[in-house]
Every structure is written in structure tokens, then in C-alpha cells.
């Protein structure tokens, strides 16, 4: 009886290990499903192991405290208010700030030289922090600007061109095969082919979400002329090194674009991700003072400018304490966290 249970635990662990470590194919998944259906004993044994492995995933909240790929010592992992302070900001924060500034100034130089012709006919639109505006274009297309966004629109007889200087915008493109619709952001050019899509710019990298039609993304530069075609229902991340394209379920696409209606949607999103989103829209800035609260996961829909609602929810339902310090809202655990 006992050895029976042990053997079962070993089999279940072997399945889980194989799935997590790989390789893992669809036929492996089918075999696992069958094995789970074979008996409730199989199923509960596997679920218990899987749940423990998932629980261990909470440790990811601590990863930003340490340099990548180094294993912290047991002492380093202790959560005390004293060690919590250094988690307020990820260590590479200053780095990324500087890189951002560099990317922006480079863009200005390149923009000044390369797109000079457009300067005379372009029209600018911008939104402040927390802003949300829809701009109808002359050709029947429309652009929705998210928070802290700046675009320049250039319309000619032969081209429709938009420059995204910063922020995020959703484009609903009117069909006009004779006049291509292009968006440039940094060194990347996105060409719409009868399309609705959004582009979000984070410094030098882009996130592109396509809801209808097709979009082509190209990167400038003689050394690496790479391009990709994105179809409806995909999201692409274009960084300095290349483009990753992923097919997403409609609900996720919908969530990603919920900002167009003034809302932010989250699905089991860890608190740092939620805060980063809110900070895009609002001042004061929310800052995590105590790493323990990073483990909180939120699901729900929030008005993007309603910081108070978020803070109230955290205080009421998650026992987070919030205090105002100048232009910041500092979050920590209500119960002092110590070993």
C-alpha cells in the first residue's frame, strides 16, 4: 500500500518534471491527460505536486532583487523591513532611464535629418499623463491616443504616415489601397494592410497588437533589414534584437486594448505589473516599499485614472498599508513582515 503511493508519487513527479523541463509535445500532453483520467489517485497526486511547484513560483516576486542567474543565499531571501527598503526600485532602474534618454535623443537627431520633408506638413497631437483622446483623420481612419502619447500625422496624396514619438496609440485604418498607411516608431516602420492595430512604445522597444487585417513591421538599418507580417489576433514585441510574435486569445487582446475605453484589465497580474500600468497614467507614482506585497495578484477592471480605487482595494482586501510621501504613494504590508 505504502510503496504503491510512493510509486505513484514518482510517476506523477516524472510527468511534471518532463513537462517543466521539456521537451514537451502535444502528444506528451495527450498522454498526460489520459494518465490523469485513468484514476483519481493519479490525478490528486499530480495536482498536489503541481500545486507545490506553482506555489514555488511566488519566489519570482523576489527575482528583481538579485542579479540575473545568481542564486541568493537563504539569508538573502529573508524578508525583513530592513531588507525591504532596497526593493523599492529594481537595481537597473537608473540604467534603463539613461538608455531611454539616449534612445530619445538619437531619435530626435535621426528624425531631424531623415524625416525633414514631413516636418512642413505634419500635424501634432499629444495627450497628457492620464489622457485619452480619439483623433479622426481626414482619410476616414481614426487614432486613439493613450496616456502621455505624442504622434505626428502626415497626409499626402500618395501616403498616410504617422510618427509615434512616445506612448501608445490604436489605429483604425480606413481602406485605401492607393495610399499605404505607415507608422514609424524609432527605427521601426509598421505598414497597415486594411487594419486595426495598436502600437505601444517603451523607449526603443515596441508592442504591437493587431485586431483586424494584417500589419507588416520592418526595421531600418543596413545590417539587419528584418521584417515580419502580423495577422489579426497576434501581439508582437519588437526589441533591439528582433521581433517575437505570439498568437493571443481574443480575450487577452481585448484586455490589452481596454485602455481605449479608459479602463485597465488584469488577469491574475502580479502587483508590480499592475502598478507599472497605473503609473503610466497617474501622478502620484505608486512605489512598493515592502517586497512582500509584490506577491499579490489582481484580477479585475479598473478606471485607469482611479488610483484611489486601487489603493483602497489593496488596503481593504489585501491588508496593504499605503502612505503618501510627497509625490509618491508607498505600499507596504500592514503586518510587519519579519521572520
Amino acid at each position: 500500500m505504502e510503496s504503491n503511493r510512493r510509486m505513484l508519487e514518482d510517476s506523477a513527479t516524472a510527468w511534471l518534471q518532463q513537462r517543466e523541463v521539456g521537451p514537451w509535445s502535444e502528444s506528451d500532453q495527450a498522454q498526460l491527460s489520459k494518465w490523469l483520467d485513468d484514476s483519481t489517485a493519479n490525478r490528486v497526486t499530480f495536482l498536489r505536486l503541481e500545486a507545490a511547484w506553482e506555489e514555488a513560483g511566488r519566489l519570482k516576486a523576489l527575482a528583481p532583487r538579485f542579479p540575473p542567474h545568481t542564486v541568493p543565499t537563504p539569508e538573502q531571501l529573508r524578508l525583513t523591513p530592513a531588507t525591504a527598503a532596497d526593493l523599492v526600485r529594481p537595481k537597473n532602474f537608473m540604467m534603463s532611464r539613461r538608455r531611454w534618454a539616449l534612445a530619445a535623443s538619437l531619435l530626435l537627431v535621426v528624425g531631424g535629418a531623415g524625416v525633414g520633408y514631413w516636418q512642413f506638413i505634419g500635424q501634432s497631437y499629444r495627450t497628457p499623463l492620464g489622457g485619452l483622446t480619439s483623433v479622426p483623420l481626414k482619410d476616414g481612419s481614426s487614432v486613439t491616443l493613450n496616456t502621455a502619447t505624442r504622434i505626428r500625422v502626415y497626409m499626402t496624396q500618395t501616403q498616410r504616415h504617422i510618427e509615434l514619438t512616445r506612448g501608445e496609440a490604436f489605429f483604425d485604418v480606413a481602406k485605401d489601397p492607393g495610399r499605404p498607411f505607415t507608422v514609424t516608431a524609432g527605427d521601426k516602420t509598421i505598414t497597415a494592410i486594411g487594419t486595426a492595430f495598436s502600437v505601444r512604445r517603451n523607449g526603443a522597444s515596441l508592442e504591437i497588437t493587431v485586431t483586424a487585417g494584417k500589419v507588416k513591421i520592418e526595421r531600418d538599418g543596413p545590417d539587419s533589414p528584418n521584417s515580419a507580417v502580423l495577422t489579426a489576433g497576434t501581439m508582437a514585441y519588437a526589441g533591439p534584437t528582433g521581433v517575437t510574435v505570439r498568437q493571443k486569445p481574443p480575450a487577452e487582446i481585448e484586455d490589452t486594448l481596454s485602455w481605449r475605453t479608459g479602463y485597465l484589465s488584469f488577469h491574475d497580474t502580479a502587483l508590480p505589473g499592475v502598478i507599472a500600468e497605473f503609473n503610466r497614467y497617474n501622478e502620484p507614482e505608486i512605489v512598493v516599499e515592502d517586497p512582500a506585497v509584490n506577491a499579490i495578484q489582481l484580477t479585475g477592471k479598473f478606471r485607469s485614472t482611479n488610483v484611489d480605487a486601487l489603493v483602497r482595494l489593496l488596503e481593504k482586501s489585501f491588508r496593504v498599508s499605503a502612505r503618501r510621501d510627497g509625490n509618491k504613494i508607498l505600499l507596504s504590508a500592514q503586518v510587519p513582515v519579519s521572520e
Binding site: L16, W53, P72, L77, L79, V293, Q297, T299, K301
Partner: protein, 191 residues
């Protein structure tokens, strides 16, 4: 098959494992059989929940445990029916009908840290790199200068060890009496 039933089992049932084990150990004389009993309780609980899910999970589990022990005793013809006659055992049942004592998100994080820290050093390193950093196993093996096979074995061991310590972590149960919901939906959108 049933994704939501699986989720229910992981969230609602496993969080009572420490209490269940405490109860089984207290009542069942043969210590080395307690884990088998736990397994049997889970099987019965899962199958019963397939038909209808209990409102209160802890009393449901402890009742299953009590019936299971009674069955086994009857079969084994043990005369001293400790499980049924031990007044302490019954007290535990009553005490633990109280509202679920669950812990907050950071308590869960601390529990995960404790479980990780209990792993043997090499195993701990492999688990961190796999679970937290999500590195490919080949890269983990290279970094730690071990073979891929060894790294895989450490993942295997780590999975079992985490399981053994996480759910029976007694500390977590005494730290807090209230656990807020993991998910919440904001219903008021008004300013």
C-alpha cells in the same frame, strides 16, 4: 478533465493539509500509514466533489478522514477504536470548523521561501534557476557544472521536497487567521 475542479482542489483542499495531517497523526496509531491515509482522503474528497462541492472544506475533509479511519479499523478488526472514542480527536474536529484560517499573500511568499531554503544546496540552486529564472535545463547544468541528467534529477527531487514541506508548513497556519481573496473585482468604477 474538469479544470475548475482541479483548481478547487489545489486552492481549497491542499490549503488544509497541515490541519488534516495533524488530525490523522493525532488519531491514527501507525505513523507510517498517515501519508497513505492523506492520499485516500484526497481521492475520496475529489470524487465526492465531482458530484457536489462542499460549502465548508475543512469539516468535509476531516469527516472523510474520520470515516476512512473507521472503515479501516473495521476491516482490520482493531478493537480499541481510538479514532472514534478519543475525545481529543472530536475536539479537534469542533475547533477546526471555525472559519478558514488562511494566510495572506506575503505569508504564502514566506512559506515558499521556507520551503526553498529547506532544500539541499545543489537542489536549491537548480530549483531557483528552473522555477524562478526559468532557464533551460542545459544552461542550468552548464552554469552549475553538472550533467543535464543530474540537473533533471535535482528538479525531480526538488518537486517532491517542495511538496512535502509546503503543504504541511505549520508555521503558516499560526501566523495569521485571515487570508484575503487572491482575486478581487472592482465593481465601482465611479471616481
Amino acid at each position: 478533465m474538469d479544470g475548475t475542479l482541479d483548481t478547487w482542489f489545489k486552492r481549497e483542499v491542499l490549503s488544509h493539509e497541515a490541519a488534516l495531517m495533524r488530525y490523522l497523526r493525532r488519531v491514527w496509531p501507525a505513523r507510517d500509514e498517515v501519508e497513505d491515509l492523506r492520499q485516500e482522503v484526497y481521492i475520496r474528497a475529489y470524487e465526492a466533489a465531482r458530484r457536489s462541492r462542499p460549502a465548508a472544506v475543512r469539516p468535509f475533509l476531516l469527516t472523510i478522514a474520520r470515516n476512512l479511519m473507521a472503515d479501516r479499523q473495521r476491516r482490520a478488526r482493531i478493537v480499541s477504536i481510538e479514532a472514534v472514542s478519543d475525545p481529543d480527536a472530536l475536539n479537534i474536529l469542533v475547533e477546526e470548523v471555525s472559519p478558514e484560517r488562511r494566510v495572506g499573500a506575503w505569508q504564502d511568499l514566506k512559506r515558499a521561501i521556507r520551503a526553498l531554503n529547506q532544500l539541499p544546496p545543489k537542489c536549491r540552486e537548480v530549483v531557483w534557476l528552473k522555477r524562478v529564472e526559468e532557464l533551460p535545463i542545459k544552461e542550468i547544468a552548464d552554469r552549475l557544472r553538472i550533467s543535464v541528467r543530474t540537473a533533471e534529477n535535482q528538479v525531480f527531487r526538488g518537486m517532491q521536497a517542495l511538496c512535502a514541506t509546503l503543504f504541511s508548513d505549520e508555521q503558516a497556519h499560526f501566523e495569521s487567521e485571515h487570508r484575503p481573496d487572491q482575486t478581487a473585482t472592482e465593481r465601482q468604477h465611479g471616481e
